[in-house]
Symmetry: C2
Subunit: 201 residues, 2 copies
């Protein structure tokens, strides 16, 4: 035990919280959001069901926690922002790097399954993606189309991740990172800062 760490372990530690998220991620993905009960999730996590309300406020709060991005997109974006010459390619290199972690891929599959399992879960997935991904990227862009530009980037990155890391379409999965960056980087750069055909309002 680390010197200075609390002696003994109370219910309600960070470890219980993480256990609940892991159990919920599995059961939401397997059974769908609607059918996975709070009791079943707590039993799987080996914690008291009351802790779901303690940590997350509600079953919906727990759902949001399972749908959170397995990495911090804002950190990725700020690294990419340093390469102002070709921001699209820099951003894409970061994204490709993150996806090589198997846990990220597993969590994304669970996220997609949960999001597709129930209309309400899909709405929460939409909110999470809009706030955590599109919203944060849009903050770094300028002009009335900032959110549209950020969302366009998200569509291309999501489709690419699906083909390269989740479904494994060979023509995409077998290419080197640099081939992908050469083909797709200019798309992202145009979506971020280029002409996307909008007429001024």
């Amino acid at each position: 035990m680390t010197p200075g760490a609390p002696i003994g372990r109370r219910p309600g530690t960070e470890s219980s919280r993480a256990d609940l998220i892991a159990a919920a991620r599995t059961l939401f993905a397997e059974m769908g959001y609607d059918k996975a009960s709070v009791r079943a999730i707590a039993t799987k996590a080996k914690v008291d069901p009351a802790l779901v309300y303690h940590f997350f406020g509600s079953k919906e709060g727990l759902l949001k926690a399972t749908l959170e991005f397995p990495f911090d997109p804002a950190a990725t974006l700020s690294v990419a922002a340093d390469h102002s010459g070709d921001e699209g390619s820099a951003l894409l290199r970061q994204v490709l790097q993150i996806w090589t972690v198997p846990l990220i891929r597993q969590q994304f599959v669970a996220m997609l399954r949960t999001g597709m399992s129930h209309d309400h879960a899909r709405e929460v997935l939409r909110d999470v993606l809009t706030q955590q991904l599109v919203g944060r990227l849009a903050q770094r862009l300028e002009g009335p189309d900032a959110e549209f530009r950020a969302a366009l980037v998200a569509t291309q990155v999501a489709g690419l991740a699906l083909a390269r890391f989740i479904v494994g379409i060979e023509a995409i999965a077998q290419r080197s990172d640099e081939d992908i960056v050469a083909a797709v980087g200019p798309t992202l750069t145009r979506y971020l800062h280029g002409d996307i055909g909008q007429t001024p309002a």
Copy 2:
């Protein structure tokens, strides 16, 4: 009854086949490919389990049938090919039109859920997407990068469909078709025929 139609209804009609696909689509999506038994699917479809083998050869054959595209991408592509001036935009207009049908969206959600439900289902989804979508589009392109180009188009279209029709990211879902075409059409045109940064082999 239509004059000339067969009198009475044998087991093994087209209607039983469609009922089996519909039942399998629901159960694979709800329970996952592995857990949905042939017997349970046949019971739901109200047909004899033997018909699964009659029509599809195996449970895997039935899986493939549920993952088939709800529309014919080759037909879409051939329409788009008539607009040789800006093929990317023409292709995209067709795709946006097809996705307005609610049944297409529902089937795509089921397809994605089934594909994520089991490693084997994901492999079958990969094969179906590769053959039905990437392969057919690649046949219409030229050069050593034909398949890579076709797959790049698929990544952008898939991510866009996910954001606009499935998850409903507002910044994408609320735009007019023409805004989307103006922003994304040039991406597809470049992937189809433009410079994607490949050096000659």
